[in-house]
């Protein structure tokens, strides 16, 4: 069959051209490529060029993207350094969120910064708002970073307890229960009296329950009334529901 092809090819070759005949005889594989003559050769070259151009386009796009990201990072770092240096120059006194944490549970309304934030706190509020926004958008990874940064920088801020609670929620939403547990436990330990304290404890118990640690969950729920006598009815009802669900005594 193949022989017929080769023979036919030779016989039907329209332009009995140059050395092509010899090459065809000597190299049957090259014959296929050569038979169509220059057209196929040019097509091949064009295809190759096209492919390398495509590859390079892709590489350039990726490099541009990486470049843009690095630049963003640099700008962030620079802003951060400037902020820190500024704080140092102020003698370390200007730490934002200098306001003392307010003891006593407040209504657990979603914390929004007070309308006129004290000077120096603007940056903190901004950071908090940004993280809340990420959370609302479902970008949990970014929200996590935001809340963590906020807490690190402003551990005494009145919103720190809220941030700690929402940090836990960013893990919980992603079913990362062990990190959620750590975050809620930390919240209970450090920000027990924050406005989010009751919610935080509730969620600590729920997380334990989800992780199959029912006795621990029950122990947590049992602390609730004692720790938060002034919790809202809704919160108390949730605790009762959870206690029932987990068969707590």
């Amino acid at each position: 069959m193949a022989a017929f092809d080769v023979n036919k090819a030779l016989a039907m070759k329209i332009f009995p051209s140059r050395l092509a005949l010899l090459i065809v005889l000597a190299l049957p594989t090259a014959a296929a490529a050569q038979r169509g003559g220059d057209a196929v050769y040019i097509d091949d070259r064009l295809n190759q060029l096209q492919q390398s151009l495509t590859m390079m386009t892709g590489q350039i796009e990726q490099l541009q993207n990486r470049n843009a990201k690095l630049q963003q990072q640099m700008e962030k770092m620079q802003a951060d350094y400037e902020y820190r240096i500024e704080q140092l120059e102020k003698g370390g006194a200007g730490r934002p969120g200098g306001a003392a944490p307010r003891p006593g549970a407040q209504a657990a309304a979603p914390a929004t910064p007070s309308p006129t934030p004290p000077a120096g706190a603007a940056n903190a509020d901004q950071l908090y708002d940004e993280a809340v926004k990420k959370l609302q958008e479902g970008d949990y990874a970014a929200a996590e970073r935001g809340f963590r940064t906020f807490i690190q920088r402003n551990p005494q801020n009145k919103l720190a307890g809220n941030a700690q609670y929402w940090l836990g929620e960013t893990y919980y939403a992603r079913r990362d229960y062990s990190n959620a547990l750590t975050a809620f436990a930390e919240g209970y330990k450090v920000y027990k009296n924050s406005p989010k304290g009751p919610d935080n404890l509730l969620k600590l118990g729920i997380t334990m329950s989800v992780m199959g640690r029912k006795p621990d969950a029950c122990a947590v729920f049992a602390r609730f009334n004692q720790d938060y006598p002034r919790a809202t009815d809704l919160q108390k009802r949730r605790i009762d529901q959870e206690r029932q669900k987990n068969g707590c005594g």
Binding site: L135, G138, E169, Y172, D233
Partner: protein, 440 residues
């Protein structure tokens, strides 16, 4: 088309008993910005006025249960069996079955029309949460039930509903190597299914115009004729050729204002994106690359177009300005990205992603950041947004076996990746396109 008129918007205060305000109210609302929340327990009593009243309640129950944000309490649990549609219910009875909300209504005949009154009671605060009254033709009872569902959804979530909408899709029947593919349109809940093409040739990728009066889609010509883009009136069935060009034209989409259609035209191995003025039929080229540029989609404000292209080696997502130009790549993850769809809210772009492990449906912000995957499988493809931007529909395909085509079905999922469920269709189905809210 019918036009239900909102004749009255009943105020709540006059009828409301004095209830416990404040905290308890939280039970009839969902803060959807919270990463986790409990579905709202709600009771929906059969509307008075048989038989349509009971059917309407059924449609509403189905809508609310399916969206995942509500837990519809079964009617068998109800204590108060006879609830008047206009006076307050015995709230204690509804509290004890665990309801946070109670929906009551009544249907009365007025001449040749029906009048529908409905109320949503906040059981926790013993107050009316919302209420509406409509007059319409009797045949519109299903739409009225969807409009009521939307009102409840909005009152509880604070977001616009999406129940009074339609879905266009590709109905698939027949053997795997010669599937019949027809364009079909149905209500969002699967009711009122009907076919818009006869199935003699393959028809694919339907999209609604903003008024829902027309759809654009791609269909092959008779006798192996090349694929062309058609514009078809949904009610009259009248169809016309929109893209009579030398190459294959496909992947059509309306602009948000309905005046333009963007589509791909393939010629000599290159596929570029073009814009056509619907009225004047003027064609304008928007991309000019030697690669494949396809699956274009306008941003909600009409100022930008997202599309996929393999100009960089593999399919990736690109954004350009609506008139062409300023093209920039936005997807940089592993795998191939396809079928980008801009959210009606403008915040997210949904896409199909093809990786080593299979197919996935995901969302990213319009600058390409914050990528999240919502669903995955052997084949998941073609996301489309509900008009409120909270819910997506897409299709799942199963592997074929023994020479038989794998089944294909429509599914919907919450933007957080929860509450996936199959949308019922009479046949296998693919390529869903969710309509905007039906104009009232």
């Amino acid at each position: 088309m019918m036009l239900p008129r909102r004749t009255t918007l009943l105020g709540g205060a006059a009828l409301a008993t004095i209830g416990v305000a404040g905290t308890a109210r939280a039970q009839l609302t969902i803060d959807m910005t919270r990463p986790s929340f409990e579905p709202v327990p709600i009771a929906i009593v059969d509307f008075k006025g048989d038989p349509v009243g009971a059917q309407m309640a059924g449609v509403i129950r189905n809508n609310l249960q399916n969206c995942g944000l509500f837990r519809v309490i079964p009617t068998s649990a109800y204590i108060q069996k006879d609830v008047d549609a206009t006076s307050p219910p015995r709230f204690q009875d509804w509290r004890s079955v665990g309801a946070a909300g109670l929906v009551v209504g009544q249907v009365t005949s007025v001449g040749g029309s029906i009048k529908v009154d409905f109320r949503l009671w906040d059981v926790v605060t013993s107050q009316q949460a919302t209420g509406l009254s409509f007059t319409s033709q009797p045949s519109n009872w299903r739409r009225l039930a969807h409009i009521i569902s939307d009102a409840i959804y909005k009152r509880v979530t604070g977001e616009e509903g999406y129940f009074d909408t339609r879905v266009a899709y590709v109905s698939e029947t027949g053997p795997g190597n010669n599937r019949t593919k027809r364009i079909a349109v149905m209500d969002q809940d699967g009711a009122n299914n009907r076919y818009l093409t006869d199935g003699k040739t393959i028809a694919l990728t339907p999209r609604f115009s903003p008024t829902l009066q027309e759809i654009v889609y791609m269909a092959y010509g008779e006798n192996n004729g090349p694929p062309r883009v058609y514009l078809q009136n949904v009610d009259s069935g009248r169809r016309e050729l929109l893209g009579n060009f030398p190459g294959m034209s496909f992947a059509p989409r309306f602009s948000p204002d309905g005046t333009k259609v963007v589509m791909s035209i393939a010629e000599n191995g290159r596929t570029n994106i073009y814009e056509m003025d619907v009225r004047g039929r003027q064609l304008r080229r928007l991309t000019n690359s030697p690669a494949i540029d396809t699956s274009p989609c306008f941003s909600a404000d009409g100022s930008q177009i997202v599309f996929n292209s393999d100009r960089g080696g593999a399919q990736q997502l690109y954004v350009m300005s609506a008139g062409g130009g300023g093209e920039r790549r936005i997807s940089f993850g592993d795998g191939r990205y396809a079928t980008p769809v801009w959210s009606p809210r403008g915040d997210f772009i949904a896409f199909t992603k093809i990786g080593a492990g299979g197919f996935g449906i995901g969302v990213m912000r319009s600058d390409g950041s914050g990528e999240r995957m919502l669903a995955s499988g052997f084949l998941v493809e073609g996301p489309t947004w509900a008009p409120n931007g909270r819910v997506l529909m897409f299709f799942r395909g199963q592997p074929s076996s023994g020479g038989r085509a794998g089944s294909a079905s429509l599914h919907q999922i919450d933007i957080t990746g929860r509450f996936e469920r199959q949308v019922p269709t009479p046949t296998d189905a693919s390529d869903p396109a969710w309509s905007p809210l039906i104009p009232q």
